[in-house]
Each structure stands twice: as C-alpha cells, then as structure tokens.
C-alpha cells in the first residue's frame, strides 16, 4: 500500500524552480531524500504538506489528496523541519501539554515510554537538549500521536557519528512492524547506505532518480581509464568525470558501459554518484 505519492509537484520562484517532482513511498519502508544544499528538498517537503503552495501537482497521503484532507492526514503524520528550534526557552512538558491536545489518538502511555526510552527529561528546556535529543523529542511527539508517516527534514544534520548511527538504527526499528514509513531528507550519503530502502535524488529542483537502493546503486558504475581512453565518445557516455595524474575517473550509467572491457569498472557508491552528478565535469 502506498503511504505517500507525490505527483508532478511544481513550484516556480524567481531564482529556483521545482519541476514535476514525483515519487512514491510504500508502507513499511524508509526513503532517503538526497540532494545538495538548495536542490529543493525542503521546498518539496513543504510543498507536499501545503506549507508552500504548489503551482501544480499534488501529494496523496494514505490514498487521499493532502490538500483536500489536510486536517485528517495531519493527525496521522509527524513532521520535523531541520534547524527549527521551537520555543527554546519552554520546558518539554509545557510544549507537550499543548501539542497533545491537538491529536485524537494521543497516547500518554506511549509518550511516557518514549521519554524513558530516549532518556528525555521533561523538566528540561528545549534549548538544553542536544541536537540529537531534540530530534528524539520530535519523534516522541510524533510517535505518541501514532503517526504512520514520518516526514523528517534533515534529522541527522549536526549530529555526531554515534548519535547519527543511533538515530538511523531507531528509524529501522520504527518501521519493523510494517505499519510506518519514514521519508527523511539528508545530504549525508552514509545515512542512506545504512538505513534507506529507497532513494530519491533531487538535483536543481528535478528528480534524477527515485528507486530502491540496490537498483539505484546498480544503475551506475565508476569507470577509470587513461587520458587516451577519454575519447569524445567516452566523454559523451559519462555523466561526469575528473581528470587525474593517471588518467580519468568518471560515472556512467550501467546501460551505457562501452563494450570491449577496455575501461576499469567499479561499483558506485551513493556519494560518488552524487558527486559526479553534481560536478558534471565535462569540458
């Protein structure tokens, strides 16, 4: 069952445009949403949630169009914006006492359980939490109203490697029962290697790929060769390449690999794919 389906979302700004963004997320999976700063990740998430008005396109959540069923859908989703520091001088228990009122399915027992699990002290002020603890508090609020879909904008940004790993493990644990899905944006590619089932890659407001992680990785290869092998035809096939003292290294679509096996071919990781795509070093 599709938890989320984004269909041809477009939004034009003076200096940036979101162009026909489409992707879908099934129930029980984690999707990583990657792209460099300014690629349109946050704009996509905000447009999906009607916080930014789309020029065209729509988001369908739990089978219903978001804009027509906003209140009902918001009861069942949890979202978190990276860097947003709400009411930093308020105690957690004050914020919770307000938030809980808005949700029909608020579960006090679950809230207490997650507080304990994440070692959160309700008497602390929001400002007194580390970045990782803030994310955990946001998750606690989302999970306590039984959110089925978690939309998280850069939840791992600013976390140390241990906290990040801890959080990614938690993501996996949260979807274990097959009832929840998580869409999270990130620019840290190792996050995706660790826990994403699906990857959606956005570049300059356009979706480059949206597929499962294995297919994504399988559809690109790193090739290396000598300067002589970097012919015009090879350049044409490459998505991007870099010259070095020994020759060149570049990214190529698996289907565009030249026959003959003259180039050294390696498996591509997400970071390499992103770097070559973004650099597109063609002369």
């Amino acid at each position: 069952m599709e938890m989320l389906s984004v269909q041809n979302l477009s939004k034009r700004y003076e200096k940036f445009e979101l162009k026909n963004v489409s992707f879908a997320l099934e129930k029980g999976y984690i999707m990583g949403f990657i792209g460099r700063n300014g690629a349109g990740k946050t704009t996509t998430l905000k447009t999906m949630l009607n916080l930014v008005h789309a020029d065209s396109g729509k988001a369908v959540v739990f089978g219903k169009e978001f804009s027509d069923n906003e209140l009902a859908i918001k009861q069942q989703i949890g979202f978190m914006f990276g860097g947003a520091n709400f009411y930093p001088k308020k105690k957690l228990k004050t914020v919770t006492s307000v938030v809980r009122r808005f949700y029909n399915e608020w579960d006090d027992a679950a809230y207490e359980r997650y507080l304990k699990r994440f070692d959160l002290d309700e008497d602390k002020k929001v400002d007194e939490l580390s970045q990782g603890m803030k994310v955990k508090y946001d998750l606690t609020l989302a999970l306590s109203h039984n959110a089925k879909l978690l939309i998280l904008d850069e939840p791992t940004s600013g976390l140390d490697p241990v906290s990040r790993d801890d959080l990614l493990e938690l993501f996996q644990e949260l979807i274990e029962d097959g009832e929840r899905s998580i869409l999270f944006s990130t620019q840290i590619t190792s996050d995706l290697e660790k826990c994403a089932d699906f990857i959606t890659y956005i570049k300059d407001g356009k979706i480059v790929a949206s597929t499962n992680k294995d297919d994504f990785l399988g559809s690109y290869k790193i090739v290396k060769g000598t300067v002589e092998q970097l012919t015009e035809e090879t350049k044409h096939r490459l998505i991007g390449y870099k010259k070095n003292a020994f020759g060149f290294a570049g990214l190529i679509k698996t289907e565009n690999l030249p026959s003959g096996g003259c180039l050294d071919v390696f498996a591509a990781d997400i970071e390499s794919i992103m770097i070559y795509f973004e650099k597109e070093q063609k002369d």
Binding site: K46, L51, L71, A72, N85, F86, V98, F102
Partner: protein, 215 residues
Amino acid sequence: MKNLLIKEFKLALNPGTYFYLACSAMLLIPSYPYFVAFIYTFIGFITVFILNRENKDILFTASLPIRKRDTVKARISTIAIIELMQIATAVPFAVIRGLINPEGNAGGIDANPALFGFVFVMYALFNTIYFPMFYKTAYKVAWPLIISCSAVTVYIFAVEIAVQSVPVLKTYLDTLDAGYAVTQLLVLIAGIAVFVLSAVFAFKKAAKRFEKVDL
C-alpha cells in the same frame, strides 16, 4: 480553537505581557494623559510578535492539525483578550480615582466612560492595521508595528486636541459629572462596536492574506 488559545497563552505569550496590565493604575495619577495608561500594553505586544517570530511559532503552529486561518483567529483573539484585560483592569482604578479625587483631569480627558470608548477605538485601529499587514508575510514585524503605532499616536493626539478644543466635546466628554453619563456611555458603546467589527475585519483580511503565504 480552544486548543489554539491554550497554545497562545502557554507558549506564545510572554509572561511580561501581563506586567503592563499594572499600568492601568496610572489612572490614579491626578492629572495625566490617561491614554498613556493603555499604550504600554503595545510594548507587551511588540515583545510577543518578535519573540514568536524567533521561536518559529508560525511553522510550529502550521505543523499541527489545524486550519491555517485558525492560527490567525487565535492570535487576533489573544491580543484582543489582552486589550480587554487592560481595559477591565483600568475600570476599578477609574472608579477609585473618581471617588478620591472628583476634580477633573487637567492632563487630558477625564477617566470616564467616553475615555474607555476612545480606548476601544484605539485598540481597534491597531488591530485593523497591524494584523492584515503582518500576515501579508507572517514574518515582517517592524513595518506593521511602525505604521500601526504611528496611527495610534496620531489618533490619540487627534482625540485629545478635538476634545480639548471643541467646546461641545469638552462639555460632554471631558467631565466626571454624572449628568453627561448617557452621552459618554454612547461613546463607550460605539467604541465597543468599532472594536468588535474591527477584530472581525482584521481577521478576515489577515486570514485571506495568510492563506497565500508560503511558509
């Protein structure tokens, strides 16, 4: 709506806002421009608006399962409640002042029902200008405050000058003589009507503008 109002009072309002209610006691000063007792509350509002922008109140509220226009209704209602509290706390001081010092106020309009009517209109003026201007962007605080507070200042001077310089207004409105109470009560009722209508107008205009804002 009730939940949003609770959110406003628990999270959005700065406790300092209530401090300015004590300024109502300025009505006990024998001779003073009594409008001043009611304008300190604007300092409280300024703090609320700026703090909430820094606290990302708009984005926080938009993430809750509520209609966008209801956030506007809750905020305008909250400010209107504070304005009403400021007026309500001033009433006993106005009564006490009349009892202990029946002499008129040489510094401006007397603390009578007409003054309260004019204060209602003053708050109405602020609400009508500030909220539709602010919700055009939902983050630019300064210009809406400058324009609305300037309009309030001009209004106060205009009312005081008119009442002091037009004999009929001076006779009927600048007095504690109970014989003119009916006229003064009519001014009060008119002020309340303007206050209510302006709140509705401010909400409709602000909500319409806020619906179009990309957060």
